[in-house]
Amino acid sequence: MRATVAETQGQDVGTIRQNVLVAVLSSLAGSAPTRPRRGAMASVSAEKTRWMRGPSTPLRGALLGLLLERPGHGGDLANRLSVRLGETWRVDTNDVYRLLEQLENTGLAASRDEPKRNNNRRTHLVYYPTEQTPEALTLWMETLLPREPVRLGLQAKLSVARQQDAPRVLIALKAYERECLVLARLVLPTDGSARSWTALCMDCTREAVYAQLQVEIDWATRTRRRINEFMERSQ
């Protein structure tokens, strides 16, 4: 985002506005070239966060959560992932096998060949959590993932969050809400006098950005409220 703003020097106002709008929309869609964030990540050894790189991190994180709930084979985990994340996610079983393999390579999952329940003569790989899995899941809950589609990352965290993760999820939701406000501030305002078709289209795009951000903020506040209410009831 910062790069986009810096590159605007020397361009006309219309182009600058368009660039900022495109950058904000891209960021909402998760494809913006966002800058790496310092903070929680910097204080943790690179080794422990290596698995959090790449666009599949939300799925890997969610798989860790599912493994901690109970071990399972690839197909079972893919099904559970689909149910947990909902219809808006496209979970490919082959991807899940690949991600489980990656988690195993980093020591966050372990597999064992076990006989199938309905056919003892055949076996399949069942994945288990390792000693490092709980810590990795906690770390993921605490880590902002600026290179990912943030909302999807949050959704993935929520889908497998344990009750003890509530404070971390609340922090992540607040950080997301703040991120949305920051994005809203980046959009250059209009004076309401769109005199050309291009200016009108830009105004409509700007309206789309605000509408999207408003929905995101409303979702984050409602989610925080639900979690807070639940935590209060369970005290």
Binding site: T190, Q214, I217
Partner: protein, 249 residues
């Protein structure tokens, strides 16, 4: 540097049946001179309460609110009233009231009564500021009753600007009939604030209304989240969440 407006650990509850609803929970916020702050929140999120506290219309249950270093919570009603008619202006579209038959220019001019001006001087200043909000000379001599919703918001703005306040507090300025009028109003508001180095504190349930503001804040369940670190809630371990609680607890 002292902020123009500051909230420190401000809490506010409202009675709701047998319970007290915690609307603001130890909120801290600073607004500097000339800075525009937009507060976004859904209906009943606490926006209006925040703004009414800022304007000294309501008082907090606890915490301190300062305007230019002066503690509003320690002022008498009269002192707060004078502040609101002088250095500060509060505007809420729902509060639009004008005497039937009164002209637009007189409606603005009468708001300058506390400034010791003659009616002629007051009218001259009113005309100047009406021109600024694009209500021309012809419109200025129309009766207020003939104004459209969008025009009445502009006249309200003129009335607020006429006194050259240092802080303008706007609660849900209006729901404009069309988007270009809304955008035009906010563009005018921002530019008037810039010209006068006037701070703005504006609440809306529409994100798009807060375009171009220096600081954005969202408010929900008594908490504030801001683009600036200085507008924060004080998060203490075990803090009570905003919500309902029994009186006396």
């Amino acid at each position: 540097m002292t902020s123009l407006l500051s909230f420190l650990n401000v809490s506010k509850r409202y009675p709701d049946g047998g319970r007290a609803v915690l609307v603001l929970d130890r909120v801290s916020l600073e607004v500097d001179a000339g800075v525009s702050v937009g507060v976004y929140g859904a209906r009943r999120s606490g926006k209006s309460t925040l703004l009414r506290l800022a304007a000294g219309i309501a008082l907090p249950d606890s915490g301190t609110i300062r305007f230019d270093g002066r503690d509003i919570t320690q002022m008498t009603g009269g002192e707060r009233g004078r502040l609101l008619r002088g250095e500060m202006a509060f505007m809420c579209a729902a509060d639009w009231r004008a005497n039937p038959g009164e002209t637009v220019v007189d409606h603005v001019a009468t708001s300058l009564g506390s400034e010791g001006l003659t009616m002629r001087e007051a009218r001259r200043r009113a005309m100047h500021v009406l021109d600024r909000v694009e209500i021309g000379a012809a419109g200025a001599h129309e009766p207020t009753i003939a104004l459209s919703a969008a025009e009445s918001v502009r006249v309200m703005l003129a009335r607020a600007l006429a006194r050259n306040p240092r802080l303008l507090v706007l609660d849900e300025p209006a729901l404009f009939p069309n988007l270009s009028e809304r955008d035009g109003f906010y563009a005018m508001l921002r530019s008037a604030a810039r010209e006068r180095n006037m701070a703005l504190l504006v609440a809306s349930e529409e994100m798009a209304s807060l375009q171009g503001f220096n600081v954005l804040i969202s408010i929900a369940d008594g908490e504030l989240i801001s683009t600036e670190a200085r507008a924060t809630v004080v998060s203490l371990p075990g803090r009570r969440r905003a919500g309902t609680e029994r009186p006396g607890r």
